[in-house]
Symmetry: C2
Subunit: 261 residues, 2 copies
């Protein structure tokens, strides 16, 4: 919910900032919103929000429910999302390796990057058997409670890491979720030392993940790959050993990332 942020860089067109903030205010928790609802949350005047929504509707970016008169995001955005995915060339580079990982572990494989203090899953490769831990591409999640998130957090500057946590908070999802900052810092230090992150049922009960950082051409970590599956198939005692091949696969992707910025 605290996803509506004022831009830090210079943004010359302030009316556009408002409009994009309106679009941003739609989320999985709030997929359908009314005019006044948005206006109050963002502190923008009602008529302004109305004008923005009307314009966005004419362009296919939102659509209004004729019955409730409330608004939701429009189909047009799906097309843009597709352009993002195809354009990144991620699939060509990352997916082949992910499939090797899937074949090796026979578990679901995820690839995620950081975006505005959260992780966004860009690619998913499911095991051939029907999987328990299905996950949609494009989904975003908090960083403190996911394997991919912690793997990326661990390689941020301490300032940036603190900024992310203080901005996003540390919501508790399960009894294993780390909700204490000091504890998280110890965990991140451990991740840096061993080279992989473990999500020990911290986000979804019964699901464990192992995640490794992915580096770009100047060595900066801003992506992560993970395998995830039911806790019986990823017992805690086995994880240290299971993580080793995954780290090699991760290094392989990093190697292919000359082009990635």
């Amino acid at each position: 919910m605290p996803d509506t942020k004022v831009p830090d860089k210079k943004a010359p067109v302030s009316s556009l900032v408002k409009a994009l903030r309106v679009l941003d205010s739609f989320s999985l928790e709030q997929p359908e919103q009314g005019v006044t609802e948005i206006a109050e949350r963002l502190g923008i005047h009602k008529s302004t929000v109305y004008n923005i929504l009307t314009t966005c509707e004419a362009m296919g970016y939102v659509q209004q429910d004729p019955h409730t008169r409330r608004y939701r995001l429009g189909l047009h955005i799906l097309r843009l999302g597709q352009v993002v995915r195809e354009g990144m060339d991620l699939r060509r580079v990352v997916v082949p390796v992910m499939e090797r990982v899937r074949d090796y572990y026979r578990e679901a494989v995820h690839f995620a990057v950081e975006l505005n203090g959260q992780v966004v899953y860009l690619e998913t490769v499911q095991p051939l058997e029907r999987s328990v831990a299905s996950l949609a591409v494009g989904k975003s999640a908090y960083m403190h409670c996911t394997g991919v998130g912690k793997a990326i957090l661990a390689h941020m500057s301490p300032e940036r890491m603190h900024a992310v946590i203080s901005e996003q908070g540390m919501a508790q999802y399960t009894q294993n979720t780390i909700t204490d900052l000091a504890e998280l810092e110890i965990e991140l230090e451990k991740i840096r030392r061993q080279g992989y992150a473990v999500d020990n049922m911290e986000y979804e009960w019964g699901i464990r993940c192992i995640a490794v950082p992915i580096r770009n051409e100047i060595g900066v970590v801003h992506a992560s790959m993970s395998i995830s599956g039911p806790s019986e198939r990823l017992p805690l005692e086995a994880i240290a050993e299971m993580a080793q091949p995954l780290m090699h696969f991760g290094a392989d992707i990093s190697k292919r990332f000359g082009w990635l910025r």
Copy 2:
């Protein structure tokens, strides 16, 4: 490419219209663009486009390649796309039926709607075996050469159908692609008569599809479901018979669409 359209409805915030047109100008064919390139295509001044892009970048909607200084759509849009998909509740309603279709035919199943004269694939269900006709959710395609497209076209008003074709053209993809309007009209009449549409390798050589229209609560067709697979598994002689169960599955979805607007 002719996707950049001026809105027909009233759009009070003209600066926002420009900005959204800039975002729209990114496509699968043009995923990366320069400032002047966009400015010239849209007839907007260079500095204006620059300001729009800078603002969008600050908000995460586009990102600039530090080397080429050109722009591409940003990751933020993926998150919005996810909100669209989840919010539609399509998955809950449509996917279960699609899975039944997949299990029945053992072929890839697609669900698409019309958007601005093209079809957008909203859901895909792959057969358990590795599929030949893989297709990404969010992808858009022309209507005259796809099964789902023709199924929807066939149930539009003649005026709207002609508007779509004259706007989008009839690009030739294979030697089977229908590129003549009169021929297309005969084909659409046939589709209305028999209740299903056939894509006989008109989009991709070697791939056939059978598509059925999906109706909403007032009987308007604005979606379609198809099965697609290699031509050997969908021989022309068998299609009429294969289409019958698919029409029932389609009717089933239409029935569940009391809620869809």
